[in-house]
Assembly symmetry: C2
Homo-oligomer: 302 residues x 2
């Protein structure tokens, strides 16, 4: 009855011998607790967040509903294991297009041990996290002929702002798998409008300018859309993956907020001018870094 979720675009996928999340097909998503402290930490976050009266209800809708933990047979065949019981956020949408965006220039909390910090930093340097304030972790786009679903190596190759802009255009195009320019056919209905992704991200931004409860390190914003039964396009924004959330301690989450503003700017530009040719046009010297961490410091390879 339990099966791997169709719309998972990043992270470990459940299969024989591999631990991953499961769905029951009737609206619940079961995420296995990782055996190190991350699983417990994420459960503690959900438990704290879901009962925190300081979180406004219009913000709560950006988070999956939490229904405790439950012992279930793990997908890797290793026997029973505690799982977080969450809402299956895309279960109401048929064949949704989904993109997973890991937000924040810095993906490690300030209290991280050195080896974890260096591992994350290296990845932040290799991807667009440090330059753009977010990176694409995965995507799939519904097309007439199936799903456009770049594999991990393709996703790894998104290392420039123009790569990322192109993917954000493909995400709302009818020709994502074509080598010609993305047509942005759905940009207006998905990104634009009062219920579109931009409006939702701006609402989230307003909360992040003010909230000092949590700092959301290494959290993903999942954005998705699909047509409902009556043919109306339904855009959806959800935050997921809270294993590295820490207390806000009276300070706003400037790291998440900065990355969110950067994403908002990308989407705004696509809405304003879908056919824009990317132009940098500045006057300081060109500078491109070849990431070297792990060479000079040694022993930091995965």
């Amino acid at each position: 009855m339990l099966k791997p979720p169709e719309h998972q675009v990043a992270g470990h996928q459940a299969r024989e011998g591999q631990l991953g999340p499961l769905v029951d097909g009737s609206g619940r998503f079961y995420k296995p607790l990782q055996s190190d402290s991350r699983g417990e930490h994420e459960a503690a976050f959900y438990s704290s967040f879901s009962s925190d009266p300081r979180v406004p209800s219009h913000v709560r809708r950006f988070f999956p509903g939490f229904h405790g933990t439950q012992l279930l047979p793990a997908s890797d065949g290793s026997g029973e294991r505690p799982h977080l019981v969450l809402d299956d956020i895309f279960s109401s949408l048929l064949r949704p297009s989904v993109i997973d965006l890991k937000i924040g220039a810095c993906t490690w909390p300030p209290n991280s041990p050195d080896n974890y910090l260096m591992k994350c930093l290296r990845k932040d340097l290799e991807t667009t996290s440090l330059t753009l304030g977010f990176r694409i972790s995965g995507l799939r786009v519904n097309t007439a002929s199936g799903f456009y679903n770049p594999d991990k190596n393709q996703v790894k190759s998104y290392t420039s702002s123009s790569d990322v802009k192109r993917v954000l255009k493909k995400f709302v195009s009818s020709n994502p798998d074509s080598s010609s320019d993305p047509d942005c056919a759905f940009a207006a209905v998905v990104y634009g409008g009062s219920e579109g992704l931009l409006a939702q991200l701006l609402e989230l931004k307003a909360w992040f300018e003010d909230q000092t409860l949590y700092h959301f390190y290494s959290v993903s914003v999942l954005v998705g859309y699909a047509r409902d039964e009556v043919g109306k396009t339904r855009p959806l924004v959800k935050l997921v993956d809270f294993a590295h959330v820490v207390e806000g301690d009276g300070v706003i989450d400037h790291n998440f907020l900065g990355g969110l503003c950067s994403l908002i700017k990308f989407i705004s530009e696509i809405l304003i001018d879908p056919d824009e040719k990317f132009s940098s046009g500045c006057c300081l010297e060109e500078s491109k870094r070849t990431p070297q961490l792990g060479i000079e410091n040694g022993g930091l390879d995965e």
Copy 2:
């Protein structure tokens, strides 16, 4: 005729044997070009920025006016050296109170060499840069009995959000040198109002949400205030120190923007509730990092 500026609160101060900036007492500030590439890089920034038509004039007022470079006798007695000729930003204010805030969780540009990256990262971890998105580099506050002017070691001890909030309160208090609570006597006239620091920072923020021209790594926001001839308090915001600015490449400066939003939140809270007792009140486990970089990795000591 040239002398060290009175209101300098961070960085190397000009004196015999030490290179530092000079003022002429009639509105000009002379900053010696550092002999490595930083000096030239900062000159290139000023030159590019000051002639860039894409920078709106209401934003330009937050930057010192630039008047080219000039050969001048260096303060360290080493002979003639090129200096940036800038407006002496506080010359119109008598006995200004000044605070130097280095903005951004990350003070190194993504194209930095590893050794520079690690040196900056260590400092970002030791200070409040990573946790708060900015750090205090120095301050002086005008009092009835002279200046309250914490030395470098005191400034280094500002490692928590409550330390920083207390300093931002002292900055607008008549009793900054007292061990009792800062009275925030000038909070309303300095931080508040249509010409106050908060209003100015919000104007700057609006530009940073949109501008993709430059990324301002390791740039300081200097905020100052003093009474003018008719007794009116004049608050002033200026950005300084552009040796590590890089091209924006079509992306917003999410790192600066995040830190700026964090500073804005601190100041808003002081305005709303100057007597507030700091309360964290969250539910996740307490976590305080002891910075260790440089121990495990070796050879990174200054």
